[in-house]
Amino acid sequence: MIIKQLSVFLEDKSGRLTELTRILAENDINITALSLAETADYGIVRMVVGRPDLAKEVLEDAGFSVGLTDVVCLRMPDKPGGLYSALRILAENNVNIDYMYAFSNNGVALAVIRAANIDQVIDVLQQNKMQLISQSEIYQI
């Protein structure tokens, strides 16, 4: 249930993110989720994409600094308390989340979660009947 998230280091200069999306577009790689974390000088763009290995290769060829990070993608009901019920389970099992990003639409909410011990996250969530999305499902979205 591990999903390979694409993480890209971006210098704080205009056009870098556009260039990145251009390369993904030209290689027919779809972006399912994206979040951008920024500091004063640089940013890290984190993406769940259809074909992460190919994406890494083409971006590296274009000179980007790219890493693949293990994350999980959680599906929740799009209603009040949906995220809370998942996070409460993680908290009760002493799992610390490094970062996450989430979005909901049309009755479905998705959250991408990164933690140091990703296997523990998977175990805990699955034991509690939480619904995780696999890489192949992402590719189909």
Partner: protein
């Protein structure tokens, strides 16, 4: 005023004889006490008794900063520790600093040459001198301090930084002389205006500036800003510190204290001695130093020497302002910085040294230092927290090694411009 007219205005032949006598003593001293020099002399087939005249200086071996590093820390000292009363240190090319030692007499001579220079600039015992050079292992602060006390002036040892306090000292304690780096003088001048003060509200009349290259245009600018007369003081810790040479009121070069330090100009490639008036690398031989005399020390500063008697009456040879160097050393806020120091810090932190670039600029008359470091697979993380921790660690280590702070920027791989595959290490945007 001329503090020691019998030396500063001496007959050149008389000076030649004095230099010859002192050089012979120095050669004997280092041969007997320093294995490094004994070996070098033996290689050249020189016995201490062979050197009788300063004209033979060209036959002697050179000393470089690398030699100081190889003999770190005290290998070039000619006296036992019990006779050393002071140690100073400046930047080395890598992790190790360049170390120098002084006997009590060395300290006295140092005070004397600085006093000579201050007198040349018109400073006397009725002056109050604010010393805004760094106090500590750097020779600027204490060097000026002892010289100013020797003159009998009132000393305000304000050291560097805390501009607000500097201005308060300057105005409240009636400072008449300011000693610091020229860029800091310009910065203080502008801070004074920003604080709503006019330079005429201070008692400043003289500036003694050095430790970094500056042009005549900068001198005029500072003079206008602070309503003072500004003078260049030159020195390097290896030779003694500030006071090796000093500008007189004629502003036609710095008079070298030739009775203590013999200057030569050599071609930095062939190492052949060049005639007066030609541009080359400045080389010094100390002839009165006790703790750590140096024979033909290559300063890496490029300049010219002029032997004609000066309108001020002094006969001591004059050296032009040093504006460039024959190595890659940078002078940033008066501190010597070698790109190799930055490389050594990065090497220590990550297995493969990442590509880096040093960018030096000047904002509001103060030097800025930015170091761009390309991230690579050895230190990559998608966590901002980890990247920031790496950046802070680089920042901390760079500051502690260089002695000045830098802005560290992490940049994308291959974003630093390369020429022939090698990254361009230094971009100096300061205009002199």
């Amino acid at each position: 005023m001329i503090l020691y007219p019998e030396i500063e205005c001496a007959d050149r032949q008389q000076l030649h004889d004095l230099q010859s006598k002192r050089l012979a003593e120095t050669v004997k001293r280092v041969y007997e006490n320093v294995p490094f020099y004994r070996n070098k002399f033996k290689e050249k087939g020189i016995e201490p008794g062979d050197i009788k005249s300063v004209d033979q200086l060209k036959d002697l071996p050179f000393t470089t900063k690398a030699d100081l590093r190889d003999n770190y820390p005290f290998g070039l000292f000619t006296v036992p520790q019990t006779d050393v009363v002071r140690i100073h240190a400046s930047s080395g090319t890598t992790g190790k600093p360049t170390v120098v030692g002084y006997t009590r007499r060395d300290i006295e001579i140092w005070a004397e040459v600085v006093a000579r220079g201050l007198t040349m600039a018109g400073v006397d015992k009725d002056d109050t001198i604010q010393i805004s050079y760094g106090y500590g292992a750097f020779t600027g602060g204490l060097g000026l301090h002892y010289g100013a006390e020797k003159v009998g002036a009132t000393v305000i040892p304000s050291s560097t930084g805390n501009t607000k306090k500097q201005i308060q000292f300057m105005t409240d304690f009636n400072a008449t002389v300011l000693a610091c780096t020229p860029s800091y003088a310009a910065y203080l001048g502008e801070s004074l205006l920003q604080a709503g003060l006019s330079p005429s509200e201070t008692k400043l009349r003289i500036g003694v500036f050095g430790a970094e290259p500056w042009t005549n245009e900068m001198r005029l600018q500072i003079e206008n800003l602070l309503h003072i007369k500004a003078y260049d003081i030159y020195g390097l810790s290896e030779i003694i510190g500030p006071g090796v040479s000093m500008e007189c009121e004629c502003h036609c070069g710095n008079h070298v204290c030739e009775d203590h330090f013999i200057p030569e100009i050599v071609d930095p490639e062939t190492l052949e001695v060049l005639p007066y008036g030609e541009l080359g690398e400045l080389v010094f031989t100390t002839i009165t130093k006790e703790a750590m005399p140096l024979i033909r020390y290559r300063t890496r500063d490029l300049t010219r020497l002029y032997p004609e008697k000066c309108a001020c009456g002094r006969t001591l040879v004059r050296m032009e302002k040093c504006l460039s160097r024959s190595d890659d050393m940078l002078i940033i806020r008066g501190v010597n910085v070698f790109p190799s120091q930055v490389e050594a810090v990065l090497m220590e932190m990550v297995e493969t040294s990442p590509h880096y670039q040093i960018i030096v600029g000047r904002e509001n008359n103060l030097d800025t230092l930015e170091i761009r470091v390309e991230i690579n697979e050895h230190f990559w993380s998608d966590s901002i927290r980890e990247l920031e921790s790496i950046r802070r660690r680089i920042d901390h280590n760079i500051t502690s090694v260089l002695g000045i702070s830098a802005v560290i920027k992490l940049v994308e791989p291959h974003s630093i411009e390369r020429s022939e595959g090698k990254a361009k290490r230094v971009i100096d945007n300061r205009t002199l």
